[in-house]
Subunit: 222 residues, 2 copies
DNA sequence: CCGGCAAAAATTGTCGACAGTAGTGCAATC
DNA sequence: GATTGCACTACTGTCGACAATTTTTGCCGG
């Protein structure tokens, strides 16, 4: 197959495209944690041979979304509560660093963007639109870590976020939780706007720490 | 080749073994940053076909040691000073978390081990044995992050350490630097032994921060 | 009816070969 | 003599097939 439509998208090799698609499917929940992923199935799905698919799976293994067991196959990674808790602790210090850096370097435009995110989330809460709230929440966090001026930090943080999506995606958001969480967002942004690195670091750290508390408090529904 | 000697080592698939060997060769400096890695060369070196080798390279790419450019090949990753600085900042907050956790959970045996490392380094300095000092330094750091009770933290920290070895391995250690660094080690261990998480976190953070200062102060010899 | 054993099916691991692309050097032309 | 175009080379990308292992299935005996 010399000229397939999937090939035309440039600067992305075939294994990379396959990797992104498998990742999308996993995060969407089409494969559940613990499920086995059959290579032949992927062959049929993508119409390529097994070579590129195996390369994509190796890459996904390194990013922590799947697990390879020799001669047994690949499985969607299953996160225990303890592992998720560990990830939250690491995520917290990374996010604190992001907040600290943001407080030191944020431009007025960036601060305005941050306030925009928080306001949109306020409105989503008022409308009771959980979907929009979660979108805004992710956008705010992503904006902070990608604008902190440290790509290594951003990459590690986003990788953790991705892996954490494997843990109990049934993340029911109560209205009061959303309100409390967005209050914390406002405090974080105030600290950044005041260019107060210490306060930014502590508010960001606490934000993730309380999110962890909320998550760990929910009964195990798996 | 049904029964090759390399195959007998268990619980490690062939791509994993190849990956470790390539990694070892890169970190040893046999391939320098920016060098191109030829697949055919690896085929001759390992005696396998290109399939397992390509899988190993994909995995190494995810761990940040090499870079793949479509249709061009793979290259040993080249770290700029800015990227190294970013890694040090992330490493600092991770190490601070490790120190905090260690202060909360370290057993008397672990504290004794820590003191043993620091003492061995003191002796290495007295002997002027830079090699032994560096070994002890790595052993101490590794011990702390792997005994902090957070495998996610350990994995990320060790991954950063590995990548940082691509940056100016000509890390000349002056005797006064080693003394100052090991003084910091003693302070870190004291904080852990006192089970003082805050002091442990700050001493660990500062230890990496000053290491970064020292590294960035050295003239660029690349 | 159940457990263990053996053959068969399915799946992963590996390989050699072919296709396509980037880089190189030569040659012809201005 | 410099430059542009072209063939050549070497490499990466992909594929289909074979080998080895695991899992399933069917059978037999208890």
């Amino acid at each position: 197959m010399p000229t397939n439509a999937i090939e035309l998208l440039k600067s992305h090799s075939l294994p990379m495209l396959i990797e992104e698609e498998i990742q999308r499917v996993i995060l969407k929940g089409e494969y559940a944690p613990g499920d086995r992923i059959n290579e032949k199935e992927l062959v049929l799905r993508f119409g390529t041979s097994r070579g590129p698919i195996r390369e994509a799976l190796r890459s996904l293994e390194s990013s922590g979304l799947i697990e390879q067991i020799p001669n047994r196959g690949v499985f969607v990674r299953k996160l225990s509560a303890a592992e998720a808790a560990n990830m939250y602790d690491v995520r917290a210090v990374l996010f604190a660093l992001a907040g600290r850096l943001m407080a030191m370097r944020a431009t007025p435009e960036e601060i305005a963007r941050l306030r925009g995110f928080a306001q949109a989330m306020d409105e989503a809460i008022a409308r009771g639109d959980v979907e929009a709230y979660l979108r805004g929440n992710f956008a705010l966090h992503e904006f902070i870590v990608t604008h902190a001026g440290n790509p290594v930090l951003a990459s590690q943080y986003l990788s953790l976020i991705k892996q954490l999506r494997l843990y109990r995606t049934r993340n029911l958001m109560l209205p009061e939780s959303m309100r409390a969480s967005n209050d914390e967002h406002h405090e974080m942004i105030d600290a950044i706007a005041a260019h107060d690195p210490e306060r930014a670091a502590s508010t960001h750290l606490n934000h993730v720490a309380t999110a962890k508390q909320r998550l760990m408090a929910t009964p195990n529904i798996a």
